[in-house]
Symmetry: D2
Subunit: 274 residues, 4 copies
């Protein structure tokens, strides 16, 4: 890809790879990163319970939305600061770094320091002013691919962050928009080897958004592990039927536990561990 | 479309239509809105000259980018405040309202009051935090359809703005992303009658981005007028070969002038005037 | 487009254009070709009545499906030979050439000589064996663009026909498949000027399939005329509610008549006539 | 999916699955089907050599194109009958069933009886007349998903075959067309669990066409195995640089051998064997 030649995102040689440390955890090394938790933080009991259970199944990062980018202004928009306090407590209790989406420069300025890994969502992948500000931090950031962003555009958005000084960028494939209506998105696993050949950055896969159906998540998690992803992001919810967002794609714990045991076996074949 | 039933964007009956006033101009009435000017404001002579010439051809709004959402961080990012001062002067000289893209809440707070019509670009169509802030203003805003945004998503993004109080929303079709590589985007003119049947808001077409090729702009401008658009947005540049952005899709003046004379004739057939 | 340099489809210079004669009619000249009629031939009264009425509104070709490419094997598949006899009689009565889709080499061998203009449908655009056989005839053929065929692929499919000797190819844009679900297809009017710049062949637009909604057909017919198409293909049905196929996108006569009067005015602006 | 309720393709209950026998081989059982060989049969030495080597690596079916659906009429169109004789001999020598694409009813009538598994290519997935004829045979057929065919359309095309009597249908995901240009197609692995939940038919994956790049084939083969596919189709060529078609996506033997050893390990995790 000519356009990224010489850029900071570019993989200089076959062994060039970046491992990003977050507390005791690493992203991009031989251990698979498992980021799990509910779509949204909804109340304290829920997130405390979620944290305990995903941890017991082997997840090493806790996710939970506190600001939610919803298509309609009338959908649940997240608990904000209140939710952040809840997930921070849950993360501390279980000794798990937390991953939260940030949607604006204001939120970034107010809350970034309280979040271990900042997530930039698909709809903000080309919110260039936000990318520039994220670039001024020294903090890991998961950059999700836009719904119809090309590989090249994803890398150039990562470059926006790196050009401003922050080198701790994790790329995230999360399904693309196509003509197919049988599922929410099409998981593009071609993106994983392609990105890993072009860039030294870690590449993870958000399996839940890629399918939109909870019963497809296990199969696609195995596929994402087999194809060489550095990590998986999976929505897990104690009670998916009552979730305030994305219940359809959230796993119950027993399903998540089963999934993890299979992921572990696939990981071994590709020289990774849980 | 079930999801917009009862919303502020919804057309309540066949005669429900909103006309938005900007100084002496109106958008959404029987007079076709022509927004023309360079992709980017580059220097004072250029924008003064551009303003004079597009005005003389019949344009009634002056466009010119001062903050540019560029895919690469190393591309020209716009002149910012300096550029704004230039286009303001050009607009005042020619008595034309100015249209400028705003990319963040910060820029909005600093500069909105100096711009007649705020433009929210395709890449920010689902930058919901920005939409909420735009919603707090009492100022016309052009909301561009995202590269792969559905009609429903575009309307729900407009609803974000209206739900926060600002009812002066103009929708803009600007070409969508498809599999086709022969042109930059595919102009989706189906969107115009569909939007006009669903919503009372004005609908304009950015013909330059929809094609990406200057020599296609005239034909598609005639089509957009014929299909019933309330206005056209067209990039015109004194010297396209030297433009700092989007030169390929910018028209020279003589081409723009010819286009305007044909647009006028088509407009008459559909009961509009220039 | 490098891949078509030197091919038979290529436009050699700006004045290179092919006009195809069908009886007293011409396709590709200054008179707009209007191909109208029902989606399917359903019974004799219907097609006789349809022929009379579309002719009276100004159509110069009669369309009507006798073999129908339906997604499900259990949908109405057309009347076949019986239907052909009916539409032939209707065409003769009104002195209009008939346009019918052919779906296989067998049908071609049996019926081509009884049809004035053969139509190759979108789903057969890359049925290369069929294209080769069509190429051996000396008979006009409308080649429809595949649902997700690129401009280049459409031209190379036309080249299949021309390479085998048949130079009477008419290209037809009929809407492409995208992510949008608000309408059946997205009419790609960018294709018209692009094709007309690359090839000397006539280019027509099937407006009915491009939208899938009868109430959008008028607006898009005006747009297709304004953009420079050589002709329009429009589904008209006496009683759309009872049509055996595609009733949703078929026009009643009074709507078609109104449409034709407006198309005529737009045509004049672009130096065409009805 | 409402439209397939009650159809022959429908999975009636969770244990409903069809296993298709081809000589001593089975497709859809616990043993993974590996279909390998060159894109096109080019000469006798090549195909004999290919057959021996893919067999030695563990492939159980031999593929090789004899009629090639090429976008341009001037590209290599396959050796036809001569090529068929060559691949038949190679298959017999190595005791492997052969898989060849058939592009028309004529070819079907002439050659079907000499081919073990007929392949209907992506471009003919909605060549309904061909599907009807294939439906009259009692012979296994691989039906490839069209470039932009939905899951529903693929299943309804399979229904065309089954409705005419042939129940031996194998579905094949082969990558879909999207906006992404970094690779030839996007492998849609969501399709595998979705198809397996809707239908009782075997589902295989053509990994070579799904990526278009030989160096991506291994990673995606592991993913396709992990996701639960019943088989893989992989292009292997002794000398990819000199291949008459699709050399870019063909594997050399040593790469294919390595791939097979990893596929075997992944297969075990999902309770399959080679």
């Amino acid at each position: 890809m000519e356009s990224i030649k010489g850029l900071k995102v570019e993989k200089k040689d076959i062994n060039h790879k970046t491992i990003i440390s977050v507390g005791k955890e690493e992203i991009g090394g031989t251990r698979l990163t498992i980021i799990a938790g509910p779509c949204s933080v909804e109340d304290k009991d829920q997130i405390m319970n979620d944290a305990k259970l995903v941890k017991s199944c082997g997840a090493n990062f806790l996710r939970g939305g506190i600001f939610k980018p919803r298509t309609s202004p009338y959908s649940f928009q997240g608990l904000g600061k209140t939710g952040l306090d809840m997930i921070k407590e849950a993360g501390k209790m279980e000794d798990m770094p937390i991953v939260c989406e940030i949607m604006s420069i204001e939120q970034l300025k107010q809350f970034a320091s309280e979040i271990d890994v900042i997530q930039i969502g698909a709809r903000n992948m080309q919110n260039f002013e936000l990318l520039k500000e994220v670039g001024k931090l020294d903090q890991p950031v998961i950059l999700k691919r836009g719904l119809s962003a090309t590989i090249e555009e994803l890398l150039l958005s990562a470059e926006y962050i790196m050009a401003h000084g922050n080198t701790k960028v994790i790329l995230c494939e999360r399904g693309i928009r196509t003509f197919e209506t049988a599922y929410r998105n099409v998981l593009d696993l071609n993106a994983v080897p392609m990105l890993k050949s072009l860039t030294h950055l870690p590449v993870i896969v958000d399996v839940s958004h890629s399918t939109g159906e909870w019963w497809m998540v296990e199969d696609l998690s195995l596929a994402a592990t087999a194809v060489g992803a550095d990590g998986l992001m999976i929505e897990v919810h104690d009670n998916p039927e009552d979730a305030l967002s994305d219940g359809m794609q959230s796993l119950k714990y027993d399903v998540f536990k089963m999934l993890m045991s299979k992921v572990e076996k696939i990981a071994k074949v590709v020289n990774k561990s849980l």
